[in-house]
Amino acid sequence: MILLTEVKKGSRFKVVRIDEKDIRTQLLRFGLGEGSEAVCFERLPLGPIVIKHQRQEVAIGREFANKIWVEPLER
């Protein structure tokens, strides 16, 4: 299990745990919950991580990304 900030660009992953309630509820509304699969679409140097889930892109600030635990998946 690694943090979302450590995911490589272009790789698939599964969300395992989100350590803050506020982020959890907000992400649920965007369509992402614990157990959802997504792809790391873009990583900005020291900045936000952009993930792609189905056809939707969500930008997650670094501070939030550091609270999201994910499991990398084989392609």
Binding site: R24, R29, G31, G47, P48, R55, Q56, A59
Partner: protein
């Protein structure tokens, strides 16, 4: 005409005893039905609103927010647009405003982006759980097909239990069907267990438009709605959200079908989106966008259009007309300047004549006639000097003098500010509609984090270069009070607005390239410095970025036009009174001599500490009225390049204009506004002094 089967079905549904699901007002069958449009951000909701409400639209600002609710009429419906939201709750201003409008709805038209069902159905299911009579419009069916996808609409309709209509709003396809099926709007299939839980809660509620909806809000832990019913919020939000999310996923799995590979345009839009995000490609794209805005708003509108409107219509038409009206009964001396264009096409004064009316123009029709004869067929500028010996004379100066509330303020608002505001909101709407803004926010997020802001703050900061007053209002879109304070400070301390920029640019051209660079470094260092320092001083921490990035697409012009119009209108409504108030204040200070006292107070600092001519003090103080007044005053002084840099640094960092101050007071409170205002004096003069000593 016979009734169609579906209409009969609706009537049957209405007769059902489950009337608790029906909003009270519609059960009483009031003549008009409140139809509320609800949808996620960027689903094309405004296209629907425009279709239903036509041209005539009321825009109202919700108290304490800049969130606009547009309202129109369609047949026996009152149609309300709401801001785009991901769910009904109270996370931010948009949501709070949307929440109250939605909760009072009779019928909900839920607009859904067909390409984004995973996200959008979450809101749809929440609305269904609230037992609204509703209808779903599946918009952007063309984009869905371009992405090689299909939706089984009939199956979706069966699962949801409400009518689902396919629409392509930009091409106006499907609106006929939507209109004809509007009457079929009905409560859909909710989760029975959840409904049972809600029923037990409903009996405890005070009377309300839709008890089920209020009960759901309470169950989801909404504090505002709970308080309205005198109940404690029940925090089951997460459990309900997870269950709803799972239902959405099940539905999506059943109705989506991949037909073919995505078309080229869809792939291109994704690539473009990626380019705007990454700094290597994103920064050149940003620079191009800024250059374009500068060319259109900064050069074309600010210089050409405003230059023409302000002089021709403001200074030469409106103001003399008003002043002549007062001059009829007020002792006045009118100096007429005759202007002629020189070889460069610029106006030069070729002749001057003064006409004295010691008892007002009404008392001396012969002289007035002579003056008219003198001015006939000539381009002239009339300068009025009203006698201030009587109280009436003073009042006339306050209303119609140099900074008069009726003269200067009207010219300023209509002929200077309005075109600029339209220009800026137009670009903002364009960038918003094509999906660029959230990507820009993402790209600059890291940079703004250093100042305790997140990427969203890029919007007020860019707007600040247009009008700091407008930008200060926009700081409301930021999440926390802390971020609003930081953004408002940066704006009011260090960002020169477009009114100043033109004069600053002209002065810097005189000073030369090297000094221009020095000026930019000073201002940029201050901007970052102020942000960083305030971030360190203020307790707490700022919120991180979390935004969704809608697909990049061509902006839709009707949408952009409507947005620009609505935003401009609400800005003018909200800000105008403050411009009038500011003008009254300054005119009063001028008439009572306080303004001169103030200017003389600053002369020693200006000459000794900054090394500038004494007249520069006047420019600085005038900058309080309108920031371009300050800059323009400097233009007329003979300054060395070094003095130019010093004085421009001072006026850029100096206090915000009086309208900004008023908005700042309203937005951020007395204490914060005063800290920023007095802080600006100190900062501007100390940095200016340091620059003068070092250069």
């Amino acid at each position: 005409m016979g009734k169609s089967a579906s209409e009969a079905l609706v009537e049957a549904e209405k007769l059902e005893p489950s009337s608790s699901a029906e909003p009270l007002s519609s059960a009483l069958s009031s003549a008009r039905t409140k139809l509320v449009l609800v949808g996620n951000p960027n689903v094309g909701k405004s296209g629907f609103f425009n279709h239903f409400s036509g041209l005539y639209v009321d825009v109202s600002n919700f108290p304490g927010t800049t969130v606009e609710i547009a309202h129109g009429h369609y047949k026996n419906y009152d149609v309300y647009d709401t801001p785009g939201i991901y769910g009904v709750s109270s996370f931010n201003d948009e949501e709070r405003v949307a929440r109250d409008t939605i909760l009072s709805a009779d019928v909900v038209l839920n607009v859904v982006d067909a390409t984004n069902l995973e996200r959008d159905l979450f809101l749809t299911l929440q609305l269904i759980d609230m037992r609204f009579r509703m209808i779903v419009a599946l918009n952007m069916m063309d984009a869905l097909h371009a992405a090689g996808l299909e939706i089984d609409t009939q199956e979706l309709e069966r699962i949801l239990g409400v009518p689902v209509v396919e629409v392509v709003a930009i091409k106006k396809q499907g609106f006929d069907e939507l209109e004809s099926r509007l009457r079929e709007a009905r409560p859909g299939h909710s989760d029975p267990a959840l409904q049972a839980e809600l029923q037990s809660l409903i009996s405890k509620l005070k009377p309300t438009a839709n008890p089920t909806a209020d009960a759901l809000m309470i169950l989801e832990g909404d504090e505002v709605i709970s308080e309205r019913h005198g109940l404690e919020p029940i925090d089951k939000r997460e459990a309900i959200y997870v269950a709803r999310r799972n239902r959405v996923n099940e539905i999506v799995a059943k109705v989506y079908r991949q037909k073919s590979a995505a078309r080229f345009s869809a792939q291109f839009s994704e690539k473009l989106g990626r380019w705007t995000l990454h700094p290597i490609t994103g920064i050149p794209i940003l620079l191009f966008a800024l250059w374009l805005i500068y060319q259109v708003v900064g050069v074309l509108v600010a210089q050409r259009v405003v230059g023409h409107l302000e002089v021709e219509y403001g200074n030469r038409l409106w103001e003399p007309a008003v002043k002549h009206l007062f001059a009829r009964v007020t002792p006045v001396s009118i100096e007429v300047e005759v202007l002629e264009k020189d070889d460069n096409g610029e106006y030069q004064t070729v002749e001057r004549r003064t006409f004295d009316f010691p008892n007002g123009t009404h008392a001396d029709p012969a002289l007035l006639e002579a003056m008219k004869q003198f001015m006939a067929e000539k381009t002239v500028m009339q300068n009025f000097t009203f006698s201030q010996e009587t109280l009436w004379g003073k009042l006339v100066v306050i209303l119609a003098g140099e900074f008069g509330a009726i003269t200067m303020t009207v010219t300023y608002l209509l002929f200077l500010l309005l075109p600029l505001i339209v220009g800026f909101y137009l670009f903002l709407a364009l960038l918003e509609d094509c999906g660029y803004l959230p990507r820009l926010a993402t790209m600059v997020d890291r940079l703004l984090n250093a100042m305790g802001l997140n990427g969203r703050a890029v919007i007020p900061i860019i707007l600040g270069f247009g009008c700091v007053t407008m930008a200060t209002i926009t700081t409301r879109l930021l999440n926390t009070s802390r971020e609003k304070t930081i953004a408002a400070s940066i704006l009011n301390f260090a960002i020169p607005c477009s009114a100043q920029l033109a004069v600053i640019t002209a002065l810097l051209t005189k000073a030369g390239g090297e000094y221009t660079l020095i000026f930019f470094v000073i201002i940029l260092a201050n901007l970052i410095g102020i942000g960083t320092v305030i971030d360190k001083i203020l307790p707490g921490k700022s919120s991180a970025l979390l935004i969704d990035l809608p697909p990049m697409r061509l902006p839709r012009l009707s949408n952009v036009a409507k947005k620009t119009w609505i935003k401009t209108l609400s800005f003018m409504k909200e800000a105008s009174p403050w411009f009038f108030a500011g003008a009254l204040l300054i005119s009063t200070m001028q008439v009572t001599g306080l303004l001169d006292v103030w200017i003389r107070l600053f002369e020693p600092i200006t000459t000794n500490w900054l090394g500038l001519p004494a007249d520069a003090a006047r420019s600085f103080v005038m900058g309080m009225v309108r920031r371009d007044f300050g800059a323009a005053g400097l233009y007329e002084l003979a300054l060395s390049p070094k003095q130019i840099v010093v004085s421009l640094t001072v006026i850029t960092l100096f206090v915000p204009c009086i309208a900004s101050l008023m908005v700042l007071l309203k937005e951020r409170g007395l204490c914060e506004a005063m800290t920023i205002w007095f802080g600006s004096w100190i900062l501007a003069f100390s940095i200016g002094g340091v620059v003068a000593a070092v250069l």
